[in-house]
Symmetry: C2
Subunit: 489 residues, 2 copies
């Protein structure tokens, strides 16, 4: 055979990987130097040209491993947005730890899959062990709880709402609803705060509940869901013959890091008998920090919880988590498939994790998490969380003291929402444009969002290596870009 | 800061990664030697003990990067099932190419995400370029087609059926159904062959169509969907007031590699005006091979197609693909989100790929595919496909000539379904047990499935480095295990 069948696995695999990894590291280094900042200058067109210049995507004859890798990896790196640069602070887009990236290579090499034991024995055990530790962190009883590693908060929310739907409709009709369709019942309802992540509505759409069946419960002046308003909404829905499927509480909204009052919401969910799902994709990271853990009081009372360790956990994507307090709640996902998990094999101990996910083939993303948890420990991860929290607070006080910057409100977790205040003219257009100016020049990646139709900027601080001086320099860049930008006519 | 904030990215990243990658390669090598075969001996209990012996999953204080990585990676490798071993031939579980694994490290390091331009400029362009090449391979017009890289065939089938649902119900009612719920219409129906992958029924359940709303169309004696029977089913459903959502044709069933008659099915779909989705997760790889491409004639007429390059494409998971012939068909997934994709940013050219996926955060799995496609070219990949096809045919003729082995039928792609024939006693129990005996001894990973309630064994040949002698040795092991196994009482 030719050079093209050099496999990563087996006893000889490391010798196939070694020269290619050297090439990859070389390209990562060269690309970073070439980029010289958080992103390439020149905007979208420059990136499109750079990739096109490499050549045909699928030639008839290949150019060989070394050439393809070195050329594409260098362009890919030079034209990336690198979250490890302190001037990259727009999104919940974490710079991954080197140890997690190296661990993930091991998972890629062995290419295990968790849908049957005989595609991933060690992956199956490692995922279970990681989930047990995370269940304990959330406050669940680790012997009762279960879950799975997902592609992110969106899949966790979708799967959590699917389990809630099956639970609610199964209760109502005594049959498995996925099998029977859902046409004979009243309209379904999902309750969340008006500031919950858009993936909740999206999940409702996917699941056939309907996006407009999501009730946006009013929030207080700190953007937190009002438990009393939640309770009235649920009662009203029931009186109207509707079927409440789930309450989705948010622990850490994307923009403001707001955490809904989980204890009050859990009380309502308990009284009304509605499934409680907590979307802690962002805020779940607070559980590593002694200082911030109290913010999530009550999360242990949820039926299901979404976490995301590619946010405050510094994993390469994907490292989402879905947990349920009781393994029985996962039962609607169980499947018996002749080629994957027959009963006699399971009785003999050969059990995979097919019933833990909507996916079939599923890589052990748990492995990099397992290595990170043991390498840093809870305290090590907590330090990183605290560091980002401190930096966000530093940014907020710097903004507050600045003559041309306005703080939207004090940070809860690690985001800072603020804007540039022009002396005259439209602040919305100015902020939108100054952000694009920073992107276009390759200087900084700052976030943007809207409150009450007004445009605001946002720093999402997830880089524990950034310094106070980095943050101040970033805000000075925002200010300078704002001053340069002409007022919108 | 401490050692724990060593990030993979940035100019200094390669120097953080280098010693950790050396540790990872060392552990991969040692673990493979320790495993000494395709999987560890001793069955599930041995694996559980080995992982538990490493120690606490989330200690308060970390043990450090090097220790955590070297210990866990060695155990993980030693207790894995390695698809690069020629005696691992159970599932559509490919041994990944070293070049793809190395490329994937670059993606993990930069941690790009495709849901907004400013988290992954190069990822966005690379995915678009890979999809364009794959669309051409399928026979779509590359300027019209679009798609996305998914976590696998299951997500591709789910997303394809979601688009089909929105298309069918949107047509019927003139509104976006995800927004309005689906209660006012007749029961929905999905049509596929009785041998389609279980993920089709699962998707129907998730989407609120109902698992029992999937109509299993009869197959011919070669297990292929009968287009005439399909047409009558659709007509009958319409007459009964039901709403046909989609026809799902399979190009490569998991067990037999059967490819439905795509031209005849496309004719029916066209005449009846029903969405045609082709699940080519397995068989799509045939498009790299000149010899096998004709098997997929008609695939270009599908509205949507699922491919999986972690099968016949030798990628580390995940490398699923969903394509639609027209980009307008993807519109139901478009979203406008204030913090991700405002209109003025898009007008200025800053366009991410949020609207191409049910996920929000999404890593550029396209990058490793891009490097592989350029490194090997279509011909290089075609050679690997042909090699596996040849090996499967060799296995089939060896089985046919064997006194104690029975072939179920000739291979279509790269699977061989067969069984051990005991002189007396229950063949089902004997085959199930001999397979577990091979697993338990760490000698071989052979597949298992059922036809007409009978247990059959299966080789799924995806290792292009295997030799004819390897295949013969594997079949000799099956025979020996069958002879050793006592007849079931």
């Amino acid at each position: 055979m030719t050079v093209s069948d050099r496999l990563a696995g087996g006893v000889g695999g490391p010798e196939h990987l070694r020269p290619l990894l050297a090439t990859a590291l070389d390209a990562l280094g060269k690309g970073a130097v070439q980029r010289d900042g958080p992103l390439p200058a020149g905007g979208p067109d420059a990136v499109t040209r750079a990739v096109a210049d490499v050549g045909e995507a699928l030639p008839s004859g290949g150019v060989g491993e070394q050439q393809a890798l070195s050329e594409l990896a260098e362009v890919f790196t030079a034209s990336a947005v690198d979250p490890a640069d302190p001037a990259c602070a727009a999104h919940l887009h974490a710079p991954p730890l080197a140890v997690a990236v190296a661990a993930d290579l091991v998972a890629s090499t062995l290419n295990s899959s968790l849908d049957s034991w005989d595609q991933g024995p060690s992956g199956t055990v490692v995922e279970s062990s990681v989930l047990r530790a995370l269940a304990e962190l959330v406050g669940y009883h680790p012997d009762a709880a279960t879950g799975s590693i997902t592609s992110g908060g969106t899949e966790s929310n979708l799967t959590g709402l699917l389990l809630a739907r099956e639970h609610a409709l199964g209760d109502a009709a005594g049959v498995a609803p996925a099998a029977s369709g859902m046409r004979e019942r009243g309209p379904m309802r999902v309750f969340c705060s008006a500031e919950a992540h858009f993936s909740v509505a999206r999940a409702a759409g996917v699941l056939g509940i309907g996006e407009d069946s999501v009730i946006g419960v009013p929030v207080d002046d700190r953007h937190r869901m009002d438990p009393a308003a939640l309770e009235s909404s649920i009662v009203e829905a029931r009186e109207a013959g509707e079927v409440p499927i789930a309450v989705v509480a948010t622990a850490g909204t994307t923009d403001l890091g707001v955490i809904d009052p989980l204890v009050g919401i859990a009380d309502v969910a308990e009284r009304t008998g509605v499934w409680l799902h907590v979307d802690a994709a962002y805020g779940g990271g607070a559980l590593f920090s002694e200082r911030l853990t109290p913010l999530l009081r009550g999360v242990r009372r949820a039926d299901s919880v979404a976490l995301d360790l590619h946010k405050l956990g510094w994993q390469p994507v994907a490292a989402g988590v879905l947990l349920t307090r009781d393994r029985a709640l996962f039962e609607p996902l169980e499947r018996r498939v002749a080629y994957l998990n027959t009963e006699d094999d399971e009785v003999a101990g050969y059990r995979g994790l097919l019933g833990r996910s909507l996916r079939t083939t599923r890589r052990p993303d748990a492995f990099k998490i397992a290595v990170t948890l043991r390498a840093l420990g809870r305290d090590g991860l907590g330090e990183l969380v605290d560091r980002c929290h401190d930096l966000a607070r530093h940014a907020a006080s710097h903004v507050s003291a600045h003559p041309r910057l306005e703080l939207y409100r004090d940070p809860v977790l690690t985001t800072v929402v603020f804007r540039y205040l022009p002396e005259h003219g439209d602040p919305d257009g100015r902020n939108a444009k100054l952000r694009r100016r920073l992107l276009d020049s390759g200087r900084a990646v700052v976030g943007r969002t809207e409150f009450g139709d007004a445009v605001w900027l946002k720093l999402t601080v997830l880089n524990p290596r950034a310094t106070e001086a980095d943050i101040e320099a970033l805000l000075a860049d925002v200010d300078a870009a704002g001053q340069k930008e002409k007022a919108t006519p």
